[in-house]
Amino acid sequence: MNRFLFYLILISMMTYMVSTTPRTLIEESANGTVPSLFLAIIAGMVVTYIIISKFSHFPGQGLPEILKSYTPKWFAMPILFIFSIVWFYVGLSTLITYTFIINRFLLPEMSIYVVVLTFVLIITYGIFMTTKSIFYMSEIIFLIVIPFILFVQIKAYFSLHLNMDYIRIAIMQVNQLPNYKSFTTATFIAMGAANLVIFNRYFKKLKKPTRKGMSLLTLFFSYILLTTYFLPMGFGGFDSLDNALYPWILTSDSIRMKFGLIERIVFIFIGAFLALSVVTITMQWHISIQLLSSVFYFKRFKWKSVNLTLPFFALCFWAFSIYRAKTVTSDALYRGVEFFDMVILPITITLLIGSLWLAKRGAASKCPDTKK
């Protein structure tokens, strides 16, 4: 498997480690999160396998090209439009979550507009890059940031003040029935492969996932998911964590670097995850804007010889995210994300796999020679 495919999947997994995912999982900790996690590992990996192998039939093509050439127009256009909104919404909720984190923990006195604007400026630069450059950016940031994150986590696992008993209490909840909310929330973070809808343009020779690649991916996913859920328990306690809005920030704040340059590790930690979140949002909005422009492209909306369609969409993104960041409460944000995970995510994945399947049939009937 291509290493960029790994970055694509892993970065989106890691981004949600500190944002909304742990909160939802821990909220349901007494109602069967543990069995849901194991189901989510299986489901996440199966869906990843299906998506990658479906896309491997269309090397070098994004979803817009695939759908436009192999399915009727009345089917392709609404699907692409819905997908662009879905990806925009995912990016937006990531953006707002991180804006809230910055506003609460790093810069409590700074205006929320400034925070959102700083984010959006950098991301806007990112989404106009070519798909290839985004991959290179993701590789660089991934390699810089991962050592920090691993360092903090290893330090946490070996901390004297990590109480394993709390983690074991959490594991002992395994005898409950799995619940749907935890399951979809946990599955969501494995959905990085869905980003292939645009990023498949880069993969000219995408193959079906190999056994080695899939088992590595399963290993990483299990580690990330289990750490996301269990490590905060060891620091925050089992009964006492359900009212924490950002369990991972609380956890990283509980780790002390005795002889470090700064004792409070949380700043390094938030910084590292901010970098990852910028990459994730860039990817998601890049997808969104590309999908959107495949549906609506105003050929005559020009200034001199530069087409203004994309900048116009970017401007809409700005306006909407600033408006949303100002008005949304953190509760509404969480409910929104939960609703997304529970309802929109399964629909989106079904639509994606379904349309790819249709497109494959369309392709087979168009040129029967390639059918094997």
């Binding site: 400034v114 004297l160 609380l250 509980s254 004792e263």
Partner: protein
């Protein structure tokens, strides 16, 4: 076309560089406009009913530490109905921003411990900028007096109380360290009682004495541990080094220096009456003796020491049991080793007062020190 692209790129880079201008300073407020709180003390209020008296220890920023002749601390006190309100009122008395992000110690008055802890601790965990690795302690007299006490060994720009607890300065098994996150999880969890160190001031008003601890009981009078009990507790649970022990046998008096302590325990229910099997292993050397020692007799000394120390551990465990407090978290272990079900904690509450302790003590002396 390419010219315009270049232009757009250049202007985008310029826009990206603009936010750098906002980075000059600490979130728009410079360091000379801030005053750093380095200690918070909370007492029950004398004037306001059910209120609190909050004392802040602040450090004034100075240009050069060497040129400062004496201490540069300032103290402020305010009484109010809640902690947040008191701190808000204190802000009106300082010309600078109160920065709580560097605070590392919160002192509580002993009288507050039998009240509802949530009424005043909530403020500290709700605010994002207060460190979770803040030390928690109980004042021997009042929190106000203790926080504003400056011992003779305190030098400018170093805060004596931090050095006690952070294990980079003095390291002693008598000094128990409890972080805010530990305190929070212990107070809110079922099956464990929170334990805090007590800070006393000696009679001459020259130094701190920190060698006791206090165990909280939910809305009841807390239980104090003696020096020896604190030492044993701390070395058993946190493997505190620097543990020394005096043995007197016949006319031989010797002091052992223990540097590693390992403790494991298991709750056994199915063999006869319920009991806790605790296995303690200690490694150390002989530190002082009134006689010439024979190095071949080390095994004998091991045994004598083990017997004596075993008695002390059982005494400590029995005292905790008699007072119905559980700072070790045996209750947590009980929950952690059984599948979750209703009423698990009620079962434990019935078992704990009758449980027996079976302590196995292993002492391994490595040498007689530098001389025989």
């Amino acid at each position: 076309m390419s010219r315009y692209k270049k232009m757009i790129k250049r202007s985008l880079i310029l826009i990206l560089l603009l936010p750098l201008l906002t980075q000059a300073g600490c979130a728009f407020k410079d360091i000379d406009k801030r005053v750093f709180v380095v200690g918070i003390g909370i007492d029950p209020s004398e004037k306001v009913r059910h209120g609190f008296k909050v004392t802040l220890k602040m450090i004034k920023p100075v240009g050069d530490v060497k040129s400062v002749p004496s201490q540069t601390y300032a103290y402020l006190t305010h009484e109010s109905e809640s902690v947040a309100e008191a701190i808000r009122m204190l802000e009106t008395r300082v010309d600078k921003v109160l920065d709580l992000g560097h605070n590392r110690i919160i002192l509580l008055n002993e009288k507050l411990l039998s009240k509802d802890i949530d009424t005043f601790m909530d403020f500290f965990t709700r605010r994002g900028d207060i460190q979770m690795i803040t030390y928690m302690a109980v004042a021997g007299t009042t929190a106000e007096e203790t926080i504003s006490f400056e011992p003779e060994t305190e030098t400018p720009a170093s805060i004596a109380l931090y050095n006690f607890f952070d294990n980079t300065g003095t390291e002693s098994p008598y000094v128990l360290t409890t972080f805010l996150f530990e305190f929070r999880r212990q107070v809110l969890s079922k099956g464990v009682n929170a334990i805090l160190p007590i800070i006393d001031i000696n009679e001459d008003k020259t130094a701190f004495i920190i060698n006791n601890a206090i165990v909280l009981k939910l809305e009841e009078k807390p239980v104090k541990l003696s020096e020896v009990e604190t030492k044993y507790f701390n070395s058993l649970l946190y493997n505190a080094s620097g543990f020394s022990y005096k043995i007197e046998k016949e006319d031989l008096i010797m002091v052992l220096n223990i540097d590693t302590v390992k403790m494991k325990y298991k709750i056994v229910l199915d063999e006869g009456p319920p009991r806790i099997d605790m296995k303690v292993t200690k490694y150390g050397v002989i530190g002082e003796s009134n006689k010439r020692l024979d190095i071949s007799n080390l095994k004998k000394y091991d045994k004598t020491a083990a017997e004596e120390m075993k008695k002390k551990v059982i005494e400590l465990l029995t005292k905790l049991q008699e007072n119905d407090i559980d700072p070790f978290g045996f209750g947590l272990r009980y929950r952690a080793t059984r599948l979750s079900r209703e009423g698990l904690m009620d079962e434990w509450d019935r078992i704990y007062p009758e449980i027996e302790f079976n302590v196995t003590m292993d002492v391994n002396l490595k040498s007689t020190g530098a001389v025989e």
